[in-house]
Assembly symmetry: C2
C-alpha cells in the first residue's frame, strides 16, 4: 500500500490539473442544446478509462445520452466492485451569481469551484485516480473492478434501468460503490445508509388563448396564475404537512433508535441556517431538521413562471401559468403511486374556468440498507484509514434512484462512499469540492479496494 | 365641412402609410433599454405636430420620458380642447406569438397589426389627421386646440401629474378629449363615462442566500415559491371575492339603473368567451360579465417567477420568488389606501421563515362622469355623424389615471372618444386597429371640433 499512497501524494497537483479538464466540459444533460457536450464528456471518460489501464472500454448508446463502461478483471477469485457515477451535471442558471465561470474550474481557499466539482465529476475522478495509482504501483488491483458512468443522472437516469436490465452479465458483481453524496460535515466522514426517492412534475394552467389586458378583462376571466397559486397552496398546510390525500400512507416513520442516533450527531442548526442565509429554519412539526431532510417526505415548488416577469410593470392577465414541482419520497413510498395521487388531487382542485395539465417528468424510489453488512463495514474501515477518523452513519435527503435498481435488478448491495461537504452548492451557483477531502478520498478509495478484497462472500 | 371630409377621403391611404412610420418606433416605456426609442418617438411627434400646422411645439423634459406639447390658438372666443394621448407602448413579449413583427405594421383583413396600433398611436394619429385636414382645407380650426402627448402612460404616467401641476396656464382649456379606449363593439360606437383605477405592486419573497438542492435541504427550509403561492392564494376566495381586509370599504356599488343599462347592451357573452379562447367565464358571484369588468374591483397576478423555468427538470429550492400583482379600482377606492391595505395584509401573512418585500410600482384613481353634460353630448353627435350610428354609453375596465388629474388639478371634464375594438390585443401579441374605424374616427374627430365649437360655456 505504501507505494500506492506515495504515488497519490506525489501526484496531488497533477490530479487537480487533470480534474480541471473534466470540469471544463459543460455536460448539462437537462438542456437539449448541450447534448453534444454531454457526448464529448462521455468520450473524455472513455479516453481516461483506457489511459489508466481499464479494458473493454466503450461508449454504450442509449435513446438519450450514452453510458461509459470499462473493467479490470485481473483478480480471479477476488470480489468484484461495480463503481457507478455520473458525468452529466446540473444547469448553471442563474449564471450571474457565479463568482467564477461554472466551466472554468478555479481553486480558491482549498477548494475547487466549478459545476460538477462535487456532483459528481470530482468524486468519480477520485476513484479513477485511486485505480490509476494502484495499477501503476502494484501492477494489479486487489479486486475486480467494473466502472459504469452515466450521462443522465440529473434528468432522472431515464435510460439506465433498461441498460442495467439488458446487461446483467456485463454488470455482474458483488457490491456497488457510489460516491455521489456529501460527508456529514468537515472532519466528520460518513457512510450513508438511506436515500430519499423523487417524483418530479410540470403543471401547466391555461386560460385564454393569449395574454389579456387586465383592465379590459380583469374580473371577468379566471387568471391562470391565480388558479395555479390557489391549487399549489393546497398541497401543504401551515405546519408543513403535505395535504395530498394518501400521501403518507406508505411512509415508514423514523424509528426512535434513529432519532436518538441523529440527535447524537455533531449538528449545529444555527450554524447550518446561517451558512445558507436562512432567516429561520422551517419544516414539518414534530421533527428535527435532520429528520426533516433525511427521513421525511417533501413537497417543493422548483420553478414558477407566468405573465410578465421583466423590469417594470405590465398589466396583463397571463394566458398560461407553469410550475415545476417535486416530492422527495421515503421508504416505502412509490413514485408512480405518489404521482397518481398528486395528479388526481390536482385534477380535483382544478376549476372548470381553466385547463390544467400535469406532466410526470421523472421519479426514483427511496432506499435504505442495514449498516452492519460486511461491505459497508469494509468501507467504514477504508474511510477511517483515508481520513484518520471513524465515519458516522447517516441518511441523505437526495436521491440516487439507481441504488434501488441495483438492489432489485442485480441483487447488489450499495455502499455510499461520498466525500462532498454540506454547503457544496451541488445544484446551485458556485458549486465546490474541498481539495483536502478530494485528496483523502483518493487515499480512502485505494484503501477501499484493499478492504473489499478481504470481505468473505 | 365637405371640403374637409373630401380631403380625409382622398388621403385615406396616405394616412395608413404615415401611421406605419409612427408604429415603427419601439417606444416601450417599461424597458430601460428602449429609452432612446421613446425619445425618438417623442421627436417624431414634435416634427409631425409642426408639419400639420401647430405652434409652440416642443419636447418638454421630465425626470423620465419627455412630454410632447403643441397648440393652435387661432379661434379667440371659441372653446379650447386639450387633447391628451400617449406615444409610448407596452412591451411585446412573448415575441414568438406575434404573427408579424410588432414594429413592422402590417395590414391584413382591414386592420393594421402592430404594437401601439390601438393603444394609443393609431388613436392619436386619427386626431392629428383631422386637425391637419381641417387646417389644410378651412385654413383654421373652429376651436382652440392644445395637444399633449406623454411617453409614460404604460408605466403609470409617473411624471405627468407634476407636469400638469407646473403648467396650469399652458394647459388651460374647457374640455379634455382622450381617444384611448375601445368602442363597445364593431358597429356599436360608444362614449365611455367611467374608468377603473389601478394599484400595481411587486412582491419579493427571499429564503436562503442561494438556490438549494431540494434533496439536501428539502423539508427543513421554507420554500419562497411555496410561501408566495400560499400568501397570494389568500387574496381571493373561490367565489372571486377579494379578501384583503377593508378592500371593499370605499366601493360604490353598481346602481340598479346601471345594471339595467348594461343588460340592454348588445353583449354576447358566449361569443366574447370564444373570441378570447376562454374555457369558461369566471368572476365575482352576483355580478354579470360587464359589471365585473367595468364596475367591480379586481385582484390579478400579472407575473410569477421563481427557480428553474427552462425545459426539463431541475431539483432546486429557489432562493427567491417574485410576483407582479395589481388591482383595478372603482369609485371611490384610492390607490394609496388600497396599497397600504394590501401591504399590511401581506406583512401579516408573511411567515418568519422568509423575508417579504412589497414594492408599490404605480397607481391611478378610478373615475366616472355624468354623461348628460354638454361636452359629452357634443361628442356623441360627432360620433353619430362620423360612424352613422348613435353611440351607446359605457364604462371601461381599464385605467387612464390622468382623467382624475384633469378633473382635480385643472378642473376639466374629460370626453372619452375611443375607436378601438374589443379583442384588439392592446397589451398582448398581435395588437391591431380596424382601419374602417380609423377612417370613420378621423371623420368623427373633424366633426367633434365643429360640435365642440358650438357648446355654450
Amino acid at each position: 500500500m505504501n507505494k500506492i499512497l506515495d504515488h497519490i501524494q506525489t501526484h496531488r497537483d497533477d490530479y487537480i490539473q487533470q480534474l480541471k479538464g473534466f470540469l471544463a466540459i459543460p455536460s448539462i444533460s437537462a438542456l437539449p442544446d448541450h447534448a453534444p457536450d454531454v457526448r464529448r464528456c462521455g468520450e473524455w471518460c472513455v479516453a481516461e478509462l483506457q489511459r489508466i489501464g481499464l479494458n473493454n472500454v466503450a461508449l454504450h448508446e442509449t435513446p438519450g445520452h450514452p453510458i461509459v463502461y470499462g473493467e479490470w478483471l485481473g483478480a480471479p477469485g477476488a470480489p468484484t466492485m461495480l463503481f457507478y457515477g455520473h458525468y452529466d451535471v446540473q444547469p448553471v442558471d442563474p449564471l450571474d451569481l457565479w463568482e467564477t465561470p461554472p466551466f472554468e474550474a478555479t481553486v480558491r481557499e482549498g477548494a475547487i469551484y466549478a459545476r460538477g466539482s462535487a456532483d459528481d465529476k470530482g468524486q468519480i475522478f477520485m476513484h479513477l485516480k485511486a485505480i490509476e495509482a494502484t495499477l501503476a504501483q502494484a501492477g494489479a488491483l486487489p479486486i475486480n473492478v467494473k466502472v459504469m458512468l452515466e450521462g443522465e443522472e440529473e434528468v432522472g437516469s431515464v435510460n439506465l434501468d433498461n441498460f442495467i436490465a439488458a446487461n446483467k452479465d456485463l454488470l455482474k458483481a458483488d457490491v456497488v460503490v457510489i460516491s455521489d453524496s456529501p460527508m456529514f460535515d468537515r472532519d466528520v466522514p460518513s457512510i450513508c445508509y438511506g436515500l430519499r426517492g423523487l417524483a418530479y412534475f410540470q403543471v401547466d394552467v391555461r386560460g385564454s388563448s393569449t395574454d389579456l389586458h387586465s383592465g379590459s378583462y380583469g374580473g371577468a376571466v379566471a387568471n391562470p396564475a391565480i388558479v395555479l397559486t390557489q391549487m399549489l397552496a393546497q398541497m401543504k398546510d401551515k405546519g408543513g404537512r403535505i395535504k395530498i390525500p394518501g400521501f403518507y400512507d406508505a411512509v415508514v416513520d423514523v424509528t426512535e433508535a434513529e432519532k436518538k442516533e441523529f440527535s447524537r450527531l455533531p449538528f449545529n442548526e444555527k450554524r447550518w441556517a446561517r451558512e445558507i442565509g436562512l432567516p429561520k429554519p422551517f419544516g414539518e412539526s414534530g421533527y428535527s431538521t435532520l429528520e426533516r431532510k433525511w427521513a421525511r417526505p417533501t413537497f417543493e415548488i422548483n420553478g414558477l413562471l407566468a405573465g410578465f416577469t421583466g423590469e417594470g410593470a405590465k398589466t396583463v392577465i397571463p394566458a398560461r401559468a407553469m410550475a415545476k414541482v417535486s416530492m422527495r419520497l421515503v421508504p416505502n413510498q412509490d413514485p408512480q403511486t405518489i404521482g397518481k395521487l398528486f395528479e388526481d388531487y390536482m385534477k380535483k382542485l382544478a376549476p372548470k374556468s381553466v385547463e390544467v395539465t400535469v406532466t410526470h417528468m421523472h421519479g426514483g424510489k427511496p432506499w435504505t440498507t442495514g449498516f452492519d453488512n460486511d461491505w459497508v463495514q469494509a468501507a467504514g474501515r477504508a474511510i477511517e484509514k483515508g481520513f484518520g477518523r471513524k465515519p458516522v452513519f447517516v441518511r441523505e435527503g437526495g436521491s440516487i434512484p439507481v441504488v434501488s435498481t441495483f438492489q432489485e435488478v442485480l441483487g447488489l448491495p450499495s455502499v455510499l462512499f461520498g466525500i462532498g461537504l454540506p454547503g457544496e452548492n451541488a445544484h446551485a451557483p458556485n458549486e465546490w469540492l474541498d481539495l483536502g477531502n478530494f485528496h483523502n478520498g483518493v487515499l480512502a478509495a485505494a484503501y477501499l479496494y484493499d478492504e473489499l478484497s478481504r470481505v468473505a462472500r
